[in-house]
Structure formats: structure tokens, C-alpha cells
């Protein structure tokens, strides 16, 4: 039975996972780089964090899976998209281990990995995918050997909006700013820009509005941080639900899969479920073990690619900060 070790470190989480070819997740260890409240993580510091933790995580993963390096068949890593320094740090370790252990390397697209992990864990066949995280916001459906992007953000990702809003009101970044926003929602809804643009969305104007409201109304006590969190969630999640519904209607699908870190949010899942059930469909969602960036999703996608005969020559194991979801050819799906 083939086993693959996957490495993920494109943002502030460094993870190592091991899966077998039946989809059993033998190990999935992870460490998050947490910065002080009011600050975001920068590429250089994040890369340093990953460099400090990655070898310990490799050992932990092997221990958890009860395997030796020789029992691993291939190493999968995130080729992109993501932050440059963190991506390169992970790739350097993977290249070194591949030579020491004499194993092939599989380069994986981060977005495709989220989708494939979602399909594995929720057993969904051909869903419309809403991929929402700190770095990406896309509505995706599979067609003709590609994961096609039907709609996406035209500026910042929804998770980026949530994280930067958390900085404005100095919410802690532990365990995640998006999680902390979810915990303190209030009751009063404040009007915010609703910027759906056909199948696409825009969030930068919403962030500016929130910064303005925080500067004025919050200072005057006309609203509370809880009200802002509530209004933000209701507004942007409704936008995401709308573009997802439009994609469902366009593609004739009945399943929706939510992946990415923001996919953990239970309010988003609830709103999506209301929409999908009205259309007679099903929502597939996961908890933080698999929604949030992890090594197992890279390992599993690497497994699908490896079994389709895809490996990456050493000279091609570079990283790229931009790697579109529709760039890789999906050779492992027959439909």
C-alpha cells in the first residue's frame, strides 16, 4: 500500500501529513505562527517560524503514523500559491529529504489540495466548491479536466478582510482572528457595502467602511465591536452564498463543498445550508482539522497525482506565489 508524506507551509501554518492510497490519514501534525493582537504575520518571520518547526513536525508525523522514512513512497509539497519565503523554506526541506531518502517529489497546487481533501473527507462527488481563506476566495466547479473558477474576489480574500478587521479592533490572533470574530457576534446590524459583481465579489470597500465605522461610531459609543463582527459576518457571508447559488444554478449541481480556513465558520455553514436546502441540495463542510491548511491535504492530493503517474523532476521543484486553481490538469478524475 503506497504512502505519501505531504508538506504545507504557504501561509502562517506549517503542517506535515501522511496518507495511504485508500485515503486513510495516518498523521496530520501542524503548528501555527501566532502574532500579537493588532498585527499580521510577515513573510520573513513566518518563514523563520516554519524553518524552526518543520523538522520536528516530520519526526512527529513519522512517529504518529508509526512509519520509517523508507516506508514513504513519495513526498508532496505545496508549489503555490502562497507567500514566497515560507513556500521556499518548505520546498528546501522536501528536496533535501527526497535526495536523502531517494523518493520522488510531487508538486501540488494549494487550492486543488483543499478541494481534494474536502472531497475525501465529506465523500462528495462533484460539488460546487466555495474556497474561502485568508489568501483565496473562489467559486469552483470541475469541468473537462480542470477545476474551473466561475467566480472569485477581484481584490482581497474574505479571510484577509476578516483578519484585517480583527486587527482594527485588536482581537487576539490565537487560535485565529477569524475564529475570534465568530465568537463575539452581537445583535445590531450595521449597513455595509454589499459588493457582489455578477459571479465575482469585492471586499476592499467593506474593509474601508469598517475602518471608518470603527474610527467614528465605535469611538462615540454608538455601536460595539460585537455589533461590527455580527454585521461583517452577515454581510460578507450573504455575498458568498449568493455567488455560490449562482454557480449552482449555472452548473446544475446540487452539492456545495466549503473549503479553506473560513470554511470552519459555523455561521457561514449555516447560511449556506439554508440556501442549499431551499434548492434541494446538500452542504458538505469540515471542521478545523481539514478546513485549515494542513499537510494531509497536500499528501492526499499528491497521492492522487502520484497514482496518475505525475511526479516532479528536481529541477522543477521551485515555488510560485501565484498558481491558479485552473492551471493544473486534473488527470485523476475520469468524469
Amino acid at each position: 500500500m503506497a504512502k505519501i508524506m505531504g508538506f504545507e507551509g504557504s501561509a502562517n501554518k506549517i503542517g506535515v501529513g501522511i496518507v495511504d492510497e485508500e485515503g486513510n490519514i495516518l498523521a496530520n501534525v501542524r503548528h501555527t505562527y501566532v502574532t500579537p493582537a493588532g498585527t499580521g504575520f510577515l513573510p520573513k518571520d513566518t518563514a523563520k517560524h516554519h524553518q524552526q518547526h518543520i523538522l520536528g513536525l516530520v519526526k512527529d508525523a513519522l512517529t504518529q503514523a508509526k512509519l520509517t522514512p523508507q516506508e514513504i513512497d513519495a513526498l508532496a509539497y505545496t508549489k503555490g500559491p502562497g507567500m514566497g519565503g515560507p513556500l521556499r523554506s518548505v520546498a528546501v526541506v522536501v528536496r533535501t529529504l527526497a535526495q536523502l531518502w531517494k523518493k520522488p517529489i510531487v508538486a501540488v497546487n494549494h487550492c486543488v489540495a483543499h478541494i481534494e481533501m474536502g472531497r475525501l473527507v465529506t465523500k462528495s462527488q462533484n460539488p460546487v466548491v466555495l474556497y474561502v481563506s485568508g489568501g483565496n476566495t473562489q467559486v469552483i466547479a470541475y469541468s473537462l479536466k480542470r477545476y474551473r473558477i466561475f467566480g472569485e474576489t477581484i481584490d482581497i480574500a474574505v479571510g484577509n478582510l476578516l483578519d484585517r478587521f480583527a486587527r482594527v479592533i485588536s482581537l487576539p490572533n490565537d487560535p485565529a482572528p477569524g475564529y475570534n470574530i465568530e465568537q463575539i457576534v452581537g445583535q445590531k446590524f450595521l449597513e455595509l457595502p454589499y459588493t457582489v459583481k455578477g459571479m465575482d465579489v469585492s471586499f476592499s470597500g467593506i474593509l474601508s467602511s469598517l475602518e471608518d465605522i470603527a474610527r467614528h461610531q465605535l469611538a462615540q459609543g454608538k455601536c460595539t465591536p460585537e455589533d461590527l463582527c455580527f454585521s461583517l459576518q452577515e454581510n460578507v457571508f450573504a455575498m458568498l452564498v449568493e455567488i455560490t447559488e449562482r454557480a449552482m444554478a449555472h452548473c446544475g449541481q446540487s452539492e456545495v463543498l466549503i473549503v479553506g480556513g473560513v470554511g470552519c465558520n459555523e455561521r457561514l455553514q449555516e447560511m449556506m445550508k439554508q440556501m442549499v436546502e431551499q434548492r434541494g441540495g446538500r452542504v458538505c463542510a469540515m471542521d478545523d482539522r481539514y478546513c485549515i491548511d494542513n499537510g494531509a491535504m497536500i499528501a492526499w492530493t499528491g497521492m492522487l497525482m502520484f497514482k496518475s503517474g505525475i511526479t516532479t523532476p528536481m529541477e522543477d521543484t521551485w515555488c510560485t506565489q501565484r498558481y491558479r486553481t485552473d492551471a493544473p490538469e486534473v488527470l485523476w478524475r475520469d468524469d
Binding site: K48, L62, K66, L67, T68, S89, R95, T96, Q99
Partner: protein
């Protein structure tokens, strides 16, 4: 200016592990004849306990190309267990940045070899 650059870089070099020795090249004609476009240069020879490790490190680090090839030039060669590294840059600041980044990746590669290069990992 060149001496100032090299002195500046020398102070920033991270401390090497026991099995490595820092052994800078002395200047020679090749250095004094450096091209006009790339006036600032840095080089270092890094010996490894095993010849194969020098090859592994070179292969690992060779893959990531310099982000700005028009202003920074890098060569990596592994020969007889020694890794020969040369950087050339237009500006001292740029040279410092890329050399510092190179050392971060070099140390990560060396740490990986130390952790996994000697023996089979056994299950707990």
C-alpha cells in the same frame, strides 16, 4: 568599497556548526577583474564531512533561482565534498540581502541532513 562590503558581510555570517569550517577565499586576479556591471562580490567554500552531502546541498539550493537575475548573479559548485558559492551584485544592500537569505536556506538544508541523513528513523 569592496572591502567594506566583505567586512560587512563577514560580521553577519551565522556561526557554523562543528562539522563545518568557514574558509573564505583570498582575493586573486579573478576577483580584481570582476565585471563593471557586478562590482560587489561574495564567495565562500563550505566543506562537508561527506562528499555526497555537498552534492545534495547543491542540488537542493540550485533549484530556486535568484529573484532578480539582472542585478544578482549566483553560482553553486560542489566538488570533492566542498560547496563553492559565489554571489555578485550591483549594490551592497542587495548582496547582503541575498547572501543572508542563502545562509538561512543553507542552514535549513544542513539541519535536515543532520536530522535525517545519518540513520534510519525508527518508530517510537
Amino acid at each position: 568599497m569592496k572591502r567594506q562590503a566583505e567586512a560587512q558581510i563577514a560580521k553577519k555570517k551565522p556561526k557554523m556548526d562543528d562539522d563545518l569550517e568557514y574558509e573564505p577565499d583570498s582575493e586573486d586576479e579573478r576577483l580584481t577583474n570582476a565585471g563593471v556591471l557586478f562590482p560587489h562580490k561574495f564567495n565562500i567554500d563550505i566543506p562537508f564531512a561527506r562528499s555526497e552531502w555537498a552534492d545534495i546541498v547543491r542540488t537542493t539550493l540550485e533549484v530556486d533561482k535568484e529573484l532578480k537575475p539582472t542585478v544578482v548573479r549566483r553560482t553553486l559548485e560542489a566538488k570533492d565534498g566542498v560547496l563553492h558559492v559565489t554571489y555578485e551584485a550591483l549594490e551592497v544592500r542587495m548582496l547582503r540581502t541575498v547572501v543572508s537569505s542563502f545562509f538561512d536556506m543553507l542552514l535549513l538544508t544542513i539541519d535536515t541532513i543532520k536530522a535525517f541523513g545519518e540513520q534510519e528513523q525508527l518508530p517510537a
